[in-house]
């Protein structure tokens, strides 16, 4: 692709004889977008970042940067800058000198350095903090210094390694907005690593969901949320009710001993499948009106909604997010639209999944 700035081709990273950290990973990163690598800890997302930054080398496969192979280019010669999880600010330098570090290495003129550093600091709302020592800055401020230090070098790509994980919730939400806004203003590619699915959904243009050294699914936040490819993705991104069942025919699925109309297609008849229904798509109603009959087991107040846990007669758990209270122990009915049902095939690769999705959604307007 012409617009790809970074491309991984069958990249594997393996230490000694341990199982590979990254297993035959291929993807493309386009210019000027906000990407998120999302996955549980130890899934290999940080390894991808370190490979892009050049802190570590791939055991196998090629990494292209601007269509040039870049496997053996040392970190200091790459057009990327990183914002580290612990910020990695130099404690012996003040704010100004920290931001100026990269420019001084490039032997830029003092006047120019001063101007660029001022600009970068104002970008992250830290004007007037030039002479502060790092230890005098709060966590959020250090975070901004680290970002300023990365953007001042005008890299083509900025890598962010869980940069918000050390901040408290309120500050984190604030920084999410700021980072997104910063990316739009700068127009450069951001690659953001996180294990926080809400953060990923809120900020990204594109999400790569990674597990066990493989990319499970990539796509826009809505794609991934509405059409997860498998159990792992459905479970990791948001809350979900997952039950097994079978596809009687296209647009007709059987679960919990009943048949339901749905909008998914491209299956063999009677193929065993997994079915996802998001808790917020379930509506509490009377037993008669409900498509499913369940018994309320417990209820948690989550602020925005009640999280109600209930069980059907087969013993499947159904989580419901509702603004209305339910009564524990009571039989209730659950209603959902055919569009709320998402059917997943077992062991489907992303390629097959995309092809099938394209084939059956053609003109039928699947999705919400």
């Amino acid at each position: 692709m012409a617009n790809a700035i970074i491309e991984f081709k069958s990249v594997t990273k393996q230490y000694d004889n341990d199982p590979p950290v990254l297993d035959d990973v291929s993807f493309e990163i386009e210019r000027g977008k906000f990407y998120t690598l999302l996955g549980p800890s130890g899934c290999g997302k940080t390894t991808i970042l370190r490979l892009i930054a050049g802190f570590t080398e791939a055991s196998d496969g090629e990494i292209y940067f601007n269509n040039k192979i870049t496997n053996h280019v040392p970190a200091n010669k790459r057009q990327v800058n990183t914002v580290f999880q612990d910020y990695a600010l130099f404690p012996h330098l003040n704010v100004f000198e920290n931001v100026a570090f990269g420019l001084r290495i490039k032997k830029m003129k003092n006047a120019e350095i001063e101007q660029k550093v001022k600009e970068a600091l104002s970008f992250v709302n830290l004007e007037g903090y030039e002479n502060r020592e790092i230890r005098e800055m709060s966590g959020g401020q250090r975070q901004r210094v680290a970002i300023a230090r990365a953007i001042v070098n005008e890299p083509e790509v900025i890598l962010l390694d869980e940069p918000l994980s050390a901040l408290d919730l309120k500050l984190r939400t604030e920084m999410q907005y700021e980072l997104r806004e910063l990316q739009r203003r700068l127009g450069i590619t951001f690659i953001f690593v996180t294990h926080d699915q809400e953060e990923a959904l809120a900020m990204s243009d594109e999400i790569f969901v990674i597990n066990k050294g493989k990319i499970q699914q990539s796509g826009t936040p809505t794609d991934i949320y509405d059409e997860p490819i498998n159990r792992f993705v459905a479970d990791f991104i948001g809350e979900s009710n997952i039950v097994t069942g079978k596809m009687v025919q296209d647009q007709l699925v059987e679960m919990v001993g009943k048949r339901f109309e749905c909008v998914d297609g491209g299956f063999q008849s009677n193929e065993p499948v997994e079915i996802v229904i998001r808790p917020e798509d379930l509506e509490i109603t009377t037993v008669e009106r409900g498509k499913l009959q369940v018994k309320v087991d417990s209820q948690l107040f989550r602020g925005v909604h009640y999280e109600i846990s209930s069980y059907d007669q087969d013993g499947n758990e159904w989580l419901v997010h509702s603004t209305k209270k339910a009564v524990v122990g009571e039989e209730i009915g659950l209603y959902f639209d055919p569009e709320a049902i998402h059917v997943m095939r077992f062991n489907e690769t992303e390629e097959e999944f995309d092809k099938r999705l394209e084939a059956y959604t053609d003109g039928s307007g699947h999705g919400k």
Binding site: A53, G54, F55, P74, A75, N76, K77, V80, N81, T82, F84, Q85, D86, A88, L89, F90, P91, H92, L93, F101, G102, I105, K106, R132, E133, R135, E136, M137, S138, G139, G140, R149, N153
Partner: protein
């Protein structure tokens, strides 16, 4: 835990410190005695100090001691820092531990053995005993100390700092000079001053490897004391004690500067 300090423990502490410091103060006290011995104090005098400063031979020895100490501290700091960097950079844990153990053995092994082995080495290698043999041996026993002072600083340093520097375009040399060395500077200073004090007050090793016509203070004091009691020694020891005290104070202030209190940066 918030345990109370009982009067007993206070008294214990006072007694211990008294026992430790009493001989030194006794020595200092009698250096001002006009009586000429340490049996009874007859009157206050600076005579012993005056005599000390008129003794050019002794002054040269003082100068020798200082030159050896400063040079030994300087060279051992350079070598020690490089050694610490090397040990820190060792990838395999076993290599690291082995190197560190070899380093530590040199610190704990008795001075007498180090001195004797140096004497054997210098004679076999044909190095004339004197200034250079003393300097070389001092550098040798100071290096492990510097390594030991610098290493904790290195391991305290987050490895992402190095990644960050590389990421910002720093070459390997830049990383060392612009990030690592500034970061471990307190350790380097601590190592330097430690080496300085170790070299200044070393007796055993120096005693072995010093030759005719070259002597350091500790060796000289020893030979003076053997010849018979003169309050010259008291005066000299007093000055030496004050000098070490000054070093300790300097070291204290360097440490203080490193741990400046945080000014209002807290959230």
């Amino acid at each position: 835990m918030d345990r109370k300090i009982t009067p007993v423990s206070k008294i214990f502490l006072v007694i211990i410190f008294f026992i430790l410091y009493a001989p030194i103060f006794f020595l200092i006290f009698y250096s001002f005695n006009s009586g000429g011995n340490m049996n009874n104090f007859e009157g206050f005098t600076f005579d012993w100090y005056k005599e000390l400063f008129q003794d050019t031979r002794l002054l040269i020895i003082v100068l020798n001691t200082l030159v050896v100490a400063l040079l030994a501290a300087l060279f051992s700091t350079i070598i020690g820092v490089m050694g610490a960097l090397g040990i820190h950079a060792a990838r395999r844990r076993q290599t690291k531990n082995t190197l560190l153990s070899i380093n530590n053995v040199l610190i704990v092994s008795p001075d007498v053995i180090i001195g004797a082995s140096f004497l054997v080495l210098f004679t076999m290698a044909g190095i004339k005993l004197g200034f250079y043999s003393v300097l070389l041996s001092h550098i040798a026993f100071c290096v492990p100390i510097v390594v030991l002072m610098v290493l904790p600083k290195l391991s305290e340093m987050s490895p992402t700092l190095l990644d960050a520097a590389r990421d910002l375009g720093a070459s390997r040399l830049d990383v060392i000079t612009k990030v690592v060395l500034p970061y471990i500077t307190p350790g380097i200073f601590a190592g330097f001053f430690m080496a300085l004090t170790f070299s200044l007050d070393d007796f055993a090793v120096t005693f072995f490897v010093t030759g005719n016509g070259f002597s350091t203070l500790s060796v000289e004091i020893y030979s003076l004391a053997r010849r018979g009691i003169s309050l010259n020694i008291n005066a000299l020891s007093t000055l030496l004690f004050l000098f070490t005290l000054i070093l300790v104070v300097i070291y204290y202030f360097i440490n203080q500067r490193q741990q400046k209190p945080v000014l209002g940066g807290r959230k």
